[in-house]
Each structure stands twice: as C-alpha cells, then as structure tokens.
C-alpha cells in the first residue's frame, strides 16, 4: 500500500518536478562516466578489425543509438497510453518529452550508418533492412511530434498522440518484417550494409557501456524536457507561482 502511494505521489507534477530536478545531475554524471569508459575501451582496447579497419569503430555509437531509438519509441508509446488510459497528465507530458530525444537518436543512427557504409560498402546510403527501418522509425517520430503539435487542445493532442504512438508501436514489427522481406527479395546475395564485424569481447563491452551511457543521457534530457513542459502546462497553478517567485528572488 505504501509503495503504491509513493508511486502515485510522484505522478503529481510538482513532486515529479522536484524529484527529477534532484536526479538530473546524477544522470549526467553517469552518462559521462559510462561514456568515457565505453569510448576508452572502444578506441584503446578494442583491436582494429581485419576487414573494415578502424572504420568499424563507428559501431560504438551506431548500434547504441539505434537501440535507444527503438526503446524510446516503445517507452513513449507506453507512457502515452498510460496517460490516455488513466487520464494522467504527467504521463502524457513524459511521452511528449521523449519524442525529440528518440528522433535525435534515430537521426544519429542513420547518420552514423551512412558514414559507416561509405568506406565499407562504397555508398553513402544503402537500402538494407536495418537502415530503411530506422528511416521509417524517424518518420513515425516526426509524425507523432507533428500531430501533437498541430492539435491546439492539449488533452485531445495527448490522446490523439497516444493512439498514434500505440498504432505505430504495433506496426513497427510488421514494418520491420516487410522491409526485411523486401530487402532479401531485391538484393539477393548482398550482405547487410551495417553487418558488424566478428565481435571481440572488448567490442561488446564498449557497445554495452555506450548503450548505458546513452540511456543515462536520455533520462537526463527527457527529465529536463518534462520539467519544462510541466512549467509550460501548469503556468496558472500556485506551486508554479511560488517556484518562479522563489527563482526570481535569486
């Protein structure tokens, strides 16, 4: 009972605002430490690849970014659905805060994928299953952001966004499967453009550390953005009034 109470306590915007504010610096520290460790191992411990040379080291941001882009979409759809089902304002705000970061990671996955593909396979862009699916995922993110932005009524925007995010989440496996199918039909023997080299132990460790670093970063930025959204939406309330007065006095 006490656990449930405490869980729902933080569903209140002012309490979340305070808690998030306290946690954000720690997430930044974690992101920096994990990132430094991951990059150290990735660049100084992991050996040069026999086929791809040092170009393969892009993998240490490409794969974590791709993973984050997919995870954040599911998390976004989850919180949006919670916000819709339980009429929980804060959940909807978190969903909106997740979208730009997810889109950013998707773009980084695409950008790093292209820069990896050029020296390895000869072209800047290859229509392989993974990159094409990432591109479609970017469109899904942009669609969500465009929809919630276009609807002026906040509650309607949150709900419509939630429906779209859930429909998108359900479709992602179908889209991925159909793109894989399409890819094998048309490319025949061509190997995936972003096929990872045979993974040495150090490479895996570096990738894992970078993924955790990106995760910590995502927490930090998404919490920051949620706090901004909370203030935007709760402008009229007393607690925000006290907050800006206290900060104005500083």
């Amino acid at each position: 009972m006490a656990m449930t109470m405490r869980f729902f306590t933080y569903a209140s915007p002012p309490r979340f605002y305070a808690l998030a504010g306290a946690l954000i610096p720690w997430f930044w520290i974690a992101a920096l430490v994990l990132g430094a460790a991951g990059l150290w191992i990735g660049f100084f411990q992991a050996p040069t690849d026999a086929t791809q040379g040092d170009a393969y080291r892009i993998i240490f941001i490409h794969v974590p970014a791709a993973w984050m882009s997919m995870v954040l979409y599911l998390v976004m759809a989850f919180w949006a659905a919670i916000g819709w089902a339980f009429n929980a304002r804060l959940a909807s705000m978190v969903a909106r805060a997740l979208a730009p970061t997810g889109a950013m990671f998707t773009f980084c996955a695409l950008w790093s994928g292209a820069l990896w593909g050029k020296p390895t396979w000869g072209t800047w862009w290859v229509w392989d299953a993974r990159l094409t699916s990432e591109l479609i995922l970017l469109f899904l993110y942009l669609g969500y952001m465009a929809l919630v932005n276009a609807i002026d009524d906040t509650r309607r925007a949150d709900q419509a966004g939630a429906l779209l995010a859930v429909v998108g989440a359900v479709n992602v496996p179908i889209i991925y499967f159909s793109v894989k199918w399409w890819n094998t039909l048309h490319q025949g023997a061509t190997i995936s453009a972003t096929a990872a080299p045979k993974m040495a132990h150090t490479m895996l460790t570096a990738m894992l550390l970078m993924t955790l670093a990106f995760w910590a970063y995502a927490f930090a930025v998404v919490f920051m953005r949620t706090r901004a959204i909370v203030v935007e939406r709760e402008q009229q309330t007393e607690w925000v009034g006290e907050l800006v007065r206290a900060q104005g006095a500083q």
Binding site: D54, M104, M224, E232, Q235, Q236, R245
Partner: protein, 55 residues
C-alpha cells in the same frame, strides 16, 4: 594501446573523416539538445512569471 601517436589516432587508419564525422555530429547533437531544453525551460519560467503577475 592501439595507436603509436596522436596523429595515428586522428587518422583512424585512413577513415578519420568517417569516424570523426559520425562521432562529431552525434556529440554536437547531444550537446545542443540539453542546451535547447534548458532554453525552453527558462522561457517557460519567464512566461509563467508573466502569467502569475497578471492574475
């Protein structure tokens, strides 16, 4: 250690443009994003202060 000098490190076996192009853009975005969010937060607080004054 994989490299014998800083020069080698930046050259990345000839792939420097690609590796640093990828890392560079990612880093820029991951610096710009929190800065933009901080700006948004500050603007929100300013707007809230104005709204609170009017009421």
């Amino acid at each position: 250690m994989n490299w014998n000098s800083a020069g080698e490190f930046f050259a990345m076996g000839g792939y420097g443009l690609y590796v640093w192009g990828a890392y560079g853009v990612t880093l820029v975005l991951m610096l710009a994003e929190p800065l933009l969010v901080r700006q948004r937060h500050a603007e929100a607080r300013r707007a809230a202060a104005r709204t609170q004054e009017e009421s």
